[in-house]
């Protein structure tokens, strides 16, 4: 028995500082009137030793399901602007938000960023791009720029408020055009750029009710779904015609 306790203690070195966190909701239902959502992420730092001198920082990421996306670039071909180059990015999150308690360059070191894939640039994986495209980083920057413009990627430095180096909270706006899937929340405690503890949890985003029914029908019974769409169109077209004839004979 004693050896088992000893092994456990050895295997799980008690972190000096540990994150305890929760979300305002861990399940988002997409209903017919869904218009975006706001997630409140909050928590505390559990300590077994007295506070150290260097202040503690918090980095929080929220990442949507990964997608394979196509980034295309236009250039002028005989007076017309046409897509002339394309890069397929293997894995880009459909949504990505980074919130920090201070300027990113100060709260997180480059090596820790590489290891944990924290910044948007690191969260995107672009390998296997065609050889002829030499400016791959330019395409990835464009992907980030386009999606930042659409509110799908967010970088909010200083958005996490930390109190007494113990309590922290932030809120992240989720846009209305949310994709179904599991959204991963990661919370990193850093000190002098080094990650000292991390915590992660998941938010389930799901269509419900009519949205769910239509989506499932469209993908699993496409023929019936198509016929239903046509029948609806037919009834609506005939109904409007009949109604107008009745109103103005």
């Amino acid at each position: 028995m004693r050896w088992l306790v000893a092994l456990l203690i050895w295997a799980v070195p008690a972190a000096a500082e540990e994150v305890v966190a929760d979300l305002s909701q861990n399940r988002i239902s997409i209903t017919a009137d869904f218009d975006g959502s706001e997630i409140l992420i909050f928590g505390a730092v559990k300590r077994e030793e007295p506070l150290e001198g260097v202040p503690l920082e918090v980095v929080i990421t929220l990442s949507g399901p990964s997608q394979t996306v196509m980034v295309r670039r236009k250039s002028r071909v005989a007076a017309i602007w046409a897509n002339t180059a394309a890069v397929e990015v293997d894995r880009a999150p459909s949504f990505y938000a980074v919130a920090t308690s201070g300027p990113l360059s100060q709260v997180l070191s480059q090596t820790e960023d590489l290891r944990h894939r924290i910044t948007t640039r690191r969260a995107i994986r672009a390998v296997g791009a065609p050889q002829e495209v030499l400016d791959l980083p330019e395409f990835v920057r464009a992907l980030i720029r386009v999606r930042e413009g659409a509110g799908q990627y967010q970088l909010r430095e200083g958005a996490v408020s930390v109190r007494e180096q113990t309590l922290f909270s932030t809120s992240i706006e989720l846009p209305a055009n949310l994709v179904e899937g599991n959204y991963e929340v990661r919370i990193f405690l850093t000190r002098e750029g080094h990650v000292i503890n991390a915590y992660d949890t998941v938010i389930y985003v799901q269509k419900v009710g009519l949205e769910k029914f239509l989506y499932v029908l469209a993908h699993e019974r496409p023929f019936i779904y198509g016929l239903m769409s046509l029948a609806l169109a037919g009834v609506a077209g005939w109904g409007a015609s009949a109604a107008f004839r009745w109103l103005r004979p």
């Binding site: 997409i30 209903t31 017919a32 009137d33 869904f34 218009d35 975006g36 997608q67 394979t68 996306v69 196509m70 980034v71 295309r72 670039r73 236009k74 250039s75 002028r76 007076a79 017309i80 602007w81 046409a82 897509n83 394309a86 459909s94 395409f139 464009a142 992907l143 720029r145 386009v146 999606r147 413009g149 209305a176 055009n177 949310l178 179904e180 269509k207 009519l210 949205e211 769910k212 239509l214 989506y215 469209a218 993908h219 496409p222 023929f223 779904y225 198509g226 239903m228 769409s229 046509l230 609806l232 169109a233 037919g234 609506a236 077209g237 005939w238 409007a240 015609s241 107008f244 004839r245």
Partner: protein
Amino acid sequence: MQVYLPIAEVSVNAFMLLGLGGLVGLLSGMFGVGGGFLITPLLIFIGIPAAVAVATSANQIVASSISGVLAHFRRRTVDLPMGMVLLVGGLIGAAIGMRVFNWLRAMGQVDLLVSLSYVVFLGIIGGLMFIESVNAIRRARSGGRPAQRRRHNWVHALPLKMKFRTSGLYISVIPPLMVGVLVGLLAAVMGVGGGFVMVPAMIYLLHMPTKVVVGTSLFQIIFVTAFTTMLHATTNYTVDVLLALLLIVGGVIGAQVGTRIGARMKAEQLRVLLALLVLAVCGKLAIDLLLQPEELYSVSWRGF
């Protein structure tokens, strides 16, 4: 009031969609065009993924065309035999067009080719129609006798002649069949009903009376767009029925109003207005192709 669309996976304002449907329905009823050449770019503009916009507008066109054609049936301005001949051609054309579309998509240039074919077709047809109908109005104003259309051309020398009583025509089925194939082809490649090509072709090539043209074109469009809706729903899963329903509710009302306005207007005036509309859309697309876009990069997902 925001509505989340289950297939498009975006949230949009329901009243904006109703208004958009109404506007397109109005034009559909007035001119006998499906309105696809307007609604598809408009839907893409408000943020609906292109593939969903194309497939769903096909579904919407079915409804507005049914609503429009019923009013024409009551006024006996549908040439059914002609409609059937055009339809046979249309289905053949749509089947070929889908293959062309998939082939272009594999090459990754489908957007450009769709835009280019819009500009070329809308430009030629809009230009010709505008010149012709302005001339017709001028002749009518100057008090001269109405323009005598050339009744005999190569169309009348072809075999397989058939009587089209409603149109008062006795011509070969080959030209309407060819028109149908061309329209079906464009319908599949450009994601439109094809009325804007069919209406002028019926007037200028087949010499059908303008009042019959609108109803007959709507009749053919119903079945060709129903066919493309099914193709999109079963192969790409891109028909958004909630989006379609909102567009339809606006569209069927617009179509009824449009049919009544169209019945009160002179044929020449209708043609001038349609020509101007076609030229306006053509101009907008041409400018987009020629001017340097603000963002040179675009991101697409799921093949949209």
